[in-house]
Symmetry: C2
Subunit: 243 residues, 2 copies
DNA sequence: CGTGGTTTTGATCATAATCAACGTCTGTGG
DNA sequence: CCACAGACGTTGATTATGATCAAAACCACG
């Protein structure tokens, strides 16, 4: 493998020095707690674009946190139907429903070359009593995921195509902004098919809706380079700004 | 209040003697662990039909487990739109996304007179080290919820009305069966409007789809009394039997 | 009783799906 | 480095599905 040659990111980073620390771990840790935190990650792995994150590392349940890159989670049915459940980027936890996922075959696929930190829950429990708020932070991560899915159900259940696409773009914009990227210039990592599946639409409909947005001068779009021109108008198309 | 007069169910039950024990708590507890378990529930409360479960008991985060009764969870948007996220019955945990729900205003409404056990997470953490598998059980509860929502996204995102209603009935049937009720004779606790919102349809469409099922001799229906006549055929309409 | 919410059914309409064709990228292998 | 195959993306024409509008019957509860 080309692990040493091409390595675009250093995998030998400790949590206490990681820029994502405040997103992964509880806030306000003291120095003693910080050193304990460094024992949480059992390994950091690379996932190439197009390949799936392999969970169930030697049978132990673990939290997977994206260090760099971009993923989609996909639920596949017996009869070959796929449903994209979400898109995830740096700092996001993925596979929280992993325990049962062998039945449901929920895949986690990298949309670009990525790196992931593996935190076995056994490690969490080992230090939880000496790190203030660690347990409640883990619960918070689960909570975030459930809330995220709730808002997906909202647009799947009750929005028209225009509202869905507008909502999607706005969410993308704010998650980019949260990570210090431009909320205006978005580089879409996912295909129109992925977006369509996520939004419960067909890819032609996504394409047409984006075309309408271009015509109305809400966005500019060149393949996967998207620029939001009129954020206010886009916001007024999306139904609920808090979800 | 009529707490003492009408009380249909005894609220003074300890977990160790509760019939839902195996659903709420990890399996295979020894007698020492069982006695510890009894300290978990801080209170058991009644919720009248039509009223909402009040969470955030004096600010502490807690797990809410349905002892008896029936609930729906509903996400309300700023602009007055409602989305039913799920239906829940005895043994189910609700409000796992509670931490953030003040923002998202996710209501938990009783569809019949119900009772709920409140388990503060602080109590869980206090005894977790002396009860084998308690932490991983709590994670399992969150996992179950995420998996449940995943399968909702599946039908919201990729099924037609017939598949949605068939899937809904089958899920209802199996959750009744799990609890020792007839999987054939179902007493619907929710309105057509609730079902429609849950399935991402309009209530007229639900009504019509059920009418089609009656005509095809898949079910019998009288208001909210539903009898499944042809489970096999219903199964073949539902897309994915495992989700 | 009677009022308001629920459920059903009918007629019509609108939206997004489907079918189809074509253009365009991208990554691979020669 | 180019050619090519296959995936991706766009646009048009038509259709189908479920939404919408409307009305009536029914039940439930005060």
């Amino acid at each position: 493998m080309d692990m040493k040659i091409k390595a675009p990111y250093d995998l030998d980073v400790s949590c206490s020095k990681c820029s994502l620390l405040n997103k992964c771990m509880p806030a306000g840790l003291n120095s003693t707690e910080l050193t304990r935190i460094d024992s949480l990650v059992s390994q950091r792995i690379r996932v190439k674009r197009g390949s799936d994150l392999q969970r169930f590392n030697n049978g132990q349940q673990s939290l997977n946190i994206i260090r760099t890159g971009y993923f989609k989670t996909v639920l596949s049915t017996n009869d070959g139907r796929d449903q994209v459940l979400g898109f995830h980027m740096s700092g996001d936890s993925i596979g929280l429903a992993g325990e049962l996922s062998e039945l449901h075959s929920c895949r986690v696929t990298a949309l670009e070359d990525s790196t992931v930190c593996i935190v076995p829950f056994a490690h969490v429990e080992a230090i939880a009593n000496s790190v203030n708020g660690l347990h409640s932070h883990i619960r918070h991560l689960f909570s975030l995921e459930i809330n995220r899915e709730n808002s997906v159900m909202l647009f799947l259940g009750s929005m028209n195509s225009q509202e869905r696409v507008a909502t999607f773009l706005l969410k993308l914009s704010s998650s980019h902004e949260e990570r210090g990227f431009s909320p205006i210039d978005l580089n879409l990592k996912m295909s129109r098919y992925d977006i369509a599946s996520y939004l419960g639409l067909k890819h032609e409909t996504v394409s047409r809706t984006l075309a309408r947005f271009i015509k109305s001068k809400l966005i500019n779009l060149n393949l996967r380079e998207l620029k939001i021109i009129n954020l206010v108008a886009l916001n007024s198309l999306a139904v609920d700004k808090n979800n």
